[in-house]
Symmetry: C2
Subunit: 243 residues, 2 copies
Amino acid sequence: MTRPQKASADLSAQIAAAIRDAIVSGELIVDARLPSEAELSTQFCVSRPTVREALKRLAAQSLIRTQRGATGGAFVNRLSYAEAYRQQITTSTLLLSMNEVDFETACEARYTMERACAPLAAERREDEHLNRMRSEIARQQEPDLADSDFCASDVGFHRALVDAAMNPVLSYQLAGAVEAMQPLMNMITFISPYRETLIALHIRIADAMEQKDASSVVAGLDDLQRETMALSRKAIAKRAART
Amino acid sequence: MTRPQKASADLSAQIAAAIRDAIVSGELIVDARLPSEAELSTQFCVSRPTVREALKRLAAQSLIRTQRGATGGAFVNRLSYAEAYRQQITTSTLLLSMNEVDFETACEARYTMERACAPLAAERREDEHLNRMRSEIARQQEPDLADSDFCASDVGFHRALVDAAMNPVLSYQLAGAVEAMQPLMNMITFISPYRETLIALHIRIADAMEQKDASSVVAGLDDLQRETMALSRKAIAKRAART
DNA sequence: GGATCTTAATTGTCAGACAATTAATTGTAA
DNA sequence: TTACAATTAATTGTCTGACAATTAAGATCC
């Protein structure tokens, strides 16, 4: 954790980079305590506010956590799957919403990845996953369900499918792809007949999962992608017609 | 951008959350200028250092950028693909390194996702991608190449394959999976005969890509996964024997 | 021994100041 | 009038010093 090198950047950014490097390189291991803010400020020859800004940067990336009190301080944080999920989702959501990624590209990416999970999911699925899928389907059949809740349930259904692959790294990677689609999906209005088509496909996929029939799951996802894309085209056409 | 609600957290965290919500919800659009630090400090009834800590948190997530000078200030940042890649990779790398994710799980996730790209990649690949793959193979055949450079080239090869799918969202999602494996791969020593096996598979995959033969690409990736896992088991066994 | 108080260390927050940077404005000369 | 230089104002970057809040450890008392 020596003096940072890259000039022409904020001191706080330089210090944050230096500490981050120390963490990533393993020089600072999980749960290790960093020097106190006062010590860091003398080490780096900067004031405490500057050190604090650096620490806040790291905290924003969940690289450290801080504790007040006598034995408090900043500690290297173990990045939990839950935290990683959260960051993955926010980053993906922002990327999709701010970069004007068209629906088809995002949709293709999502279903491509999801199809990849299907073989593992079909083979390893447990009753828990099947139950989650079934209960989301039941929710989707509620007649007075709002569009946004329908989409949320859709996300839940697909996450259950992904989780069934029993590979946490895969679940983590897919989390972004699946959840980030929700805002885009929310722009589609799911009127009754369309919902029924999607639900029928969900049922088909769940049945295939129950029988551990991987190729049918893949085929179901294929159809679901086609259906979703067709729906989005309709929504876009309708929006264009209105203007 | 009203007063934050969640109590019992740092003021700077609350303020950061409030501004982040305003950005995510679209209340603050890309390139919009936030109020100056002085204004924010009066708006939120906190001191300027506290506001600054909040802004640094957001800057760490590339949600804003700051500019000094007369017309300076904090601006909502458009999250570029490059930025998103970077964040994706650091998060994935940390998750894998700090959570003691075993090699097989990470490897399975990576190859599962990569196989999913294969059909699109085989169909859409351009000469550029093929050239990148070939040149990485050439690099891998250099006799004096260090293990870490061999791994880096391996990553380059696979990224070219993923990019050939011509879907930036997919490339973004895969970036984490592929790059985060590199530190894990670096723990394997690639002695000469093993390298040749991997290179042969790379050549097989590149040839299949050239002929746009999707199923052969998938089969090649399958074998590559098996080979990589076998190699890692050997490395682990050797390490265990040494102690 | 156990409960309570004190103390010290540490982070959280504040106020005020000055330096550095940058664009707009103003002044000046060709 | 135009081109260029100096000034000015706004803003972020940084520092100093202080105090509040929190927490664990030690000291004290019963």
